[in-house]
């Protein structure tokens, strides 16, 4: 808390604890994302990364505190958090598989009930980021390739005009080229000022894009590092295996 102290963080999570039955999958975890910051969470399989993101978005119950834009949102529900601009792309994408690309994108803009013009503008923006979606506009989501599906998942989230975009392993199961295409797009969005909280296993690119990294293992944060301090992957390995 040095340079951070004078800026209100976009999101602050304190003391977040979540259980599956008797198993504590998340132990008093704390993190924050500053406005316009790109933060990556790394950690081995089963570390609790997905659990952390699901607890933040209230898909699972947890104890602790969540403050968004200076407002305590601990007791809000998932859809209310989305209304404030906390939008998550789930692990496994969470697409509406039987619905068309167009309908998926329209649903992305669900909470923007107001002027049509706004969602038209979002749509153009999504198409400019992922031109492939325009070509597939009337195809059902489930009939697309994995890469296209992930583009749709990100595009749909962007339709919701996020203030904080949370992504759970968007590169999972994708060819390296497609994965890096999607991650680079996230980098570009961040340059425009979008706050991003990314869980990723494909560390190299995610590290290049992020300004800060949390390392999660066995349900708690092992380390918090600015990315420029990570010189080699041996550094990371040390946190993974201790």
């Amino acid at each position: 808390m040095t340079a951070m102290a004078d800026i209100t963080p976009l999101i602050t999570v304190r003391d977040l604890t979540a259980r599956y039955g008797h198993i504590e999958a998340l132990r008093s975890t704390a993190l924050h994302v500053a406005p316009g910051e790109f933060v990556t969470i790394l950690g081995p399989n089963g570390a609790g990364k997905t659990t952390l993101l699901r607890a933040i978005t209230r898909l699972i119950a947890s104890t602790g505190q969540i403050v968004f834009n200076g407002r305590d949102v601990t007791h809000l529900r998932t859809h209310e958090l989305a209304g404030l601009g906390i939008i998550m792309v789930q692990e496994g994408r969470g697409l509406f598989g039987d619905m068309s690309v167009r309908e998926n994108l329209q649903l992305g803009a669900y909470k923007l009930s107001g002027p049509q013009a706004h969602s038209e503008r979002q749509l153009e923006k999504v198409f400019s980021l992922f031109p492939r979606l325009r070509e597939r506009i009337d195809q059902t989501a489930s009939s697309m390739s994995g890469g296209e599906q992930q583009m749709l998942a990100v595009g749909r989230a962007l339709m919701a005009d996020p203030k904080l975009l949370i992504l759970d392993e968007p590169s999972l199961g994708l060819a390296p080229r497609v994965a890096s295409e999607i991650l680079s797009t996230l980098g570009a969005l961040n340059k425009e000022g979008l706050g991003i909280l990314l869980v990723e296993q494909k560390a190299p690119l995610a590290l290049k894009l992020a300004q800060r990294v949390y390392i999660l293992a066995s349900g708690s944060v092992r380390a918090e590092l600015p990315t420029q301090e990570i010189e080699s992957h041996h550094d990371l390995a040390r946190y993974y295996f201790t």
């Binding site: 529900r77 859809h79 209304g83 789930q90 509406f96 039987d98 309908e103 669900y110």
Partner: protein, 295 residues
Amino acid sequence: MPSAVELVQSLVNGVGIGLIYGLVAIGFCVIYNASGIVNFAQGVFVMLGGMFAHTLLTQFGLPIYVSAVLSTILVAGIGVLVQIAIINPMWRRKAPLFAIILATLAIQLLIEQVVILTLGDQPRTYPEFTSGGPLKIGPIAIGYQLFWVLGCGALMVFALTQFFNRTRMGRALRACSQNREAAALLGIPVERMLIVSFALSAALGAAAGILITPTQYTAYSVGGPFGINGFIAAIIGGFGSAPAALVGGIFLGVIQSGAIVFFGAGFKNIVALTVLLIVLLFFPSGLFAGRAKSA
């Protein structure tokens, strides 16, 4: 062997009752798709539709059209009440689905008892919407009410399809049916959508009950049979789209009325249940599986 005339007549009757099953089936699908809940109180909406319409017509002297519309609205309100008072609290506490489904069964029995106490246990009916008839085509008689069933059924399915495909709320309901977590993450208030699904489903059931009562009768106990047949129709249709459920209903209605002319009235339910088992055995995802599961 029944004569050709008997066969055609039974086909006509079967289509009529089948459309009603179809409407009940759509009601099942609307709730099931939005929530995964099989609402066994579905038949009770059919019963309440007829009972309320009858009461408004005879006790309050309202015209049939007004009674029909009011009754539909009232039953939709009861659907909402059931959702808010019982289903939603269970849903929030993450009750297992089978417990919620059991609760809907309890609701059915409870409402039946309340109806006996307030409206009585005697069967009752009211005249067809349009007097006169039946329409005679040679030896085949088609009651005017069948046209009402056909017209209203087609209109409701059309309106429902438009609603699900073209409106923001309809799309949001479909989104809930595909992935409730993803829907919530986009800001869709899933619980409110479940309330909408109960209102819609109750209104559909009520409309079915109001339309069919003139050709039969209604009583506190008709919910069970309509519920079961509607459920079978929904399974035949694959618990998917509204048109598929409607076709499932007509299929079942025609087979049942065929069974009556071939084997006698006592075989109606045996045949319906046999059809159910055959469908479950050979087409576990419904006769229209593989088609897009929209609307």
